[in-house]
Each structure stands twice: as C-alpha cells, then as structure tokens.
C-alpha cells in the first residue's frame, strides 16, 4: 500500500477517538447549500454535502481517501451559510488532520506536501521565508520547473527576499511543535 505523508507524528490515541466527536454533522439535513456556494466544488470528487452524509454513515476510509478534503480551499463560505450551523470547513480540517495522522495516502499529494513544506519553514525560522518554502515544496513534490518564470519575475520586482526574517526565541517555537508531535 502506498504510504501517507507524515508531517507530525502519529497520534497514539488516534484509535480511541470516536469518529466525528464533538461535531454536529448529524444535524445535516442535506439542503446542499454548502455545495451550491462552494467555489471549488467543480474540482471535487464528492461535494461537501456528500461528505457530510459519508461522515454520518461512518464511511471512514472512503472519506479520508477522497480528493475533496484536499481541494477544499478553507474559504468558510459553507460554514457561514449552513442553516444548521455546521462548521463544514472545520470538518474538512478534522478530516485532513485525521488522514495525515492515520497515514492515509492523500488523494491530492501536492497539497499535503505543501503543508509539510510550510510547517518545515515555520519550524526552521519561526516565520515563513517564501523562497525557502517554494524551494522546499519543489524538492518534495519534484515539480522543479513549475512557475519558474513567475518566480523569477517576482524576484526581479524585489518580492522574493534572499535572507529569511526569523524569530529570536526559536526554542519557544520548537516547544509548540514538540507539544503537537
């Protein structure tokens, strides 16, 4: 089986967490308002309302392996408009977190690798140095030449700094990551 992408360590208690704990997904009555307003629904394999139903039916493997949870852009249009006050975007976060922790292979590998590169940048400097982030993401994803011309243009315009801006008390940042491992 293909491997998942590890960003933080596997959570030992993962198996003990009840599926959908503390989330009011069961309030969903399938009005589909979330899917109607979702700007990226066209690129999803299941629409947000279908994901709610799948969660309710306990279809854990199917949900964690789908594209939708990675394509979701976290724009919060769904959470804002849901008549039953379900935080759908928050549920997408929970599903992404669960997929990563459980070692499920992400259906949109690049998105998960980007998050890994982004958190690497925070771990290293406490802040995101864009050049470091882009280079690291390219190394991880193998997409070395995508957007090369655009990157060069931004560099010429003085928009990509060579030297990182960083946090002095780095131990405080390391501590936050240690807590999350």
């Amino acid at each position: 089986m293909a491997k998942g992408i590890r960003i933080l360590g596997p959570r030992k208690s993962d198996a003990d967490l009840p599926w959908g704990m503390d989330l009011n997904v069961q309030d969903c009555y399938q009005c589909q308002k979330c899917s109607a307003g979702c700007p990226v629904a066209f690129a999803m394999d299941f629409r947000p309302n279908q994901i709610m139903q799948m969660v309710n039916l306990g279809q854990r493997e199917r949900v964690l392996a789908c594209k939708t949870i990675w394509v979701c852009a976290s724009c919060y249009t769904c959470s804002t408009r849901c008549p039953n006050d379900i935080d759908i975007a928050g549920i997408m976060d929970w599903l992404r977190q669960t997929a990563l922790r459980a070692g499920v292979k992400p259906a949109e590998k690049e998105v998960a690798l980007f998050h890994a590169a982004f958190l690497d940048a925070i771990r290293t400097y406490g802040r995101v140095h864009e050049l470091f982030l882009i280079a690291n993401y390219k190394m991880k994803s193998g997409k070395l030449f995508d957007d090369f011309k655009l990157g060069w243009k931004m560099f010429v315009k003085g928009k990509l700094k060579l030297l990182p801006s960083r946090v002095n008390k780095k131990n405080e940042i390391s501590e936050l990551f240690r807590k999350a491992e």
């Binding site: 919060y76 976060d93 929970w94 977190q97 864009e130 990551f177």
Partner: protein, 280 residues
C-alpha cells in the same frame, strides 16, 4: 495614536509594497505602528490542516506578545487576521469559563482605517482626488468569514473598503463577487483551480466596468495579480487588470511621494491607467 503591528510573513516578502504603503499612510495619519517584538508565523491554512492545537498555539504565542504590549493590534493580512481572531475567539470563550486572561483586541488593517477618527483625518488630509478611477472592491474570504469569529456585520456584502475609496473620490462600482474565493491556499499546488477562480473574478470585474480591483490582503493581491499572463495565454484573450492595495490608493490620495515605487512592484503595472487619470 500608537498601535501594535503584526505584519505577517508575506509583508516581509511578496507583499513588500503593502508593508511600505501601510507604514507610509499610517505615518501621514499620525499613527505609530509598533511591530510586535519577535512575532511568529500565524500558521495559516497549513497549521489548521495539520493539527488544531498547533494552529491555536502558534497564533496564541502572538496573542500573548500582543497582550503584553497592551495596545490594539493591527493586522494587514487577511489570513493572519483570521488565525489570530480565531485564537482570540477561542481564548475569549475559555476566559468566559474563568480559565484565561481575555485576549487582546485584534483589528484588520481595513477595520482600523475605517474607524471614525482615521476616516475624518483621511478626509481632511486628502491632497488628490481619485475621481474618474472606476474600481471594484475585493474583500476575499478571511476578512469577513466566518462572521462568528471576525464579527463582520455584513459578511456577504462588506462595505468598509467601498467607503474609504469614496472618501478618496474614486468611483466604486457594485458587483457580486466581493467575497468570492480566489483559491489563495491552492496557489502552488493546484494552479489550474486558481486560474479558473481568478479568471472568473477578472471577468466579472471587467463586466462591472472596473478599471482596477482593490484588495486588502497580500494573498488575494498576489493571486489576482500574478496569474493574469497565464490566464491570458490559456484563454486567448488579454487580461491586464491592475490589482491595487487599499493603502497604495490611500497613499496616492494623501499625496505620498513614494507611491510610484509601490506600483512598480506589481506584475500588472497600473502606471498607464493612473497616468490617464492624471494620478502618476
């Protein structure tokens, strides 16, 4: 007036002109921006996609620094604003249970500039009118959503930026895409989705009669500004809509001498448009 300033990572890099114009406009309005000492990245979408407690703690470290400064904290980036507000919201609920100190007051730069005092100052200090400049305001997602966290009064039709631009004399046009997502969080990973969303925004802005789009978020700006050449190539139709920061236009209206320097950093150069309106 003295406030704390949380620039966020983008303003030290790709959005350097947003940082420069924010500082310039603040100085002209008599506001002293004190950068939060040793601030760290808010975690953005990558932290909350990975671990809720890490996302909260990264933002909360900044809240603790802001609390120690004891002033309102102004945040120019919509994504940082959203993360800090979400953490403050969570802290606030915990404080309700008697667990923690109340969180510091977090304001988006747009909220801050829209306050009564600065609004009046802007009116009084205006040097140039932006008359004749046809604009649409693009707020994007995270300045307004989720309203439970941001406290936005009208999250489907925000108007703060519209009002500021009217004070500067610009012609602000109505359109229905003020808060539609540009796909910022997918910028490097799914550029195809981003191009689709951005093209729609550009199309609708042009349809509304806009000559430029005004933003108050570094991620929206870079997303809308930098993909136009690719979109043009794909669509076989040329898109060249300048995407300007609200602070750049404020600097222009207040007569700041460095305004042309900011505009030169844009990929779609607004020079021609501004020159035809006698603003360059």
């Amino acid at each position: 007036m003295k406030v704390s300033y949380y620039p966020g990572c983008a303003l030290h890099g790709t959005a350097i002109e947003y940082d420069e114009s924010t500082k310039a406009v603040s100085r002209m309005l008599g506001v002293e921006l004190c950068e939060l000492p040793d601030w760290n990245c808010c975690g953005a979408s990558s932290a909350h996609a990975t671990d809720s407690s890490l996302a909260l703690n990264l933002a909360a470290r900044n809240l603790a620094i802001a609390s120690a400064q004891g002033r309102d904290t102004v945040v120019p980036c919509a994504a940082c604003y959203s993360r800090l507000k979400a953490a403050a919201h969570e802290r606030h609920q915990e404080a309700g249970n008697g667990n923690h100190q109340p969180a510091p007051n977090i304001l988006s730069l747009l909220e801050f500039l829209s306050g009564y005092e600065l609004n009046s100052k802007m009116t009084a200090l205006r040097q140039k009118s932006l008359a004749g400049l046809k604009l649409v305001c693009y707020y994007g997602c995270l300045l307004v959503r989720p309203p439970k966290v941001t406290g936005a009064k009208n999250c489907e039709n925000p108007e703060q930026m519209d009002r500021l631009l009217k004070i500067m004399g610009a012609e602000v046009l109505p359109w229905s895409y003020k808060t539609d997502c540009c796909g910022g969080s997918l910028v490097l990973t799914r550029p195809d989705i981003v191009r689709h969303l951005v093209q729609r925004l550009l199309e609708r802005a042009i349809e509304a009669g806009a000559e430029a789009i005004v933003v108050a978020c570094p991620l929206c700006q870079s997303n809308l500004d930098s993909r136009q050449e690719e979109i043009s190539r794909e669509a076989g139709k040329i898109y060249a809509v300048p995407v300007l920061y609200i602070t750049e236009l404020a600097g222009l209206a207040l007569g700041h001498s460095e305004a042309p320097k900011w505009f030169k950093r844009h990929l779609v150069n607004p020079k021609k448009l501004l020159a035809t309106k006698g603003l360059w």
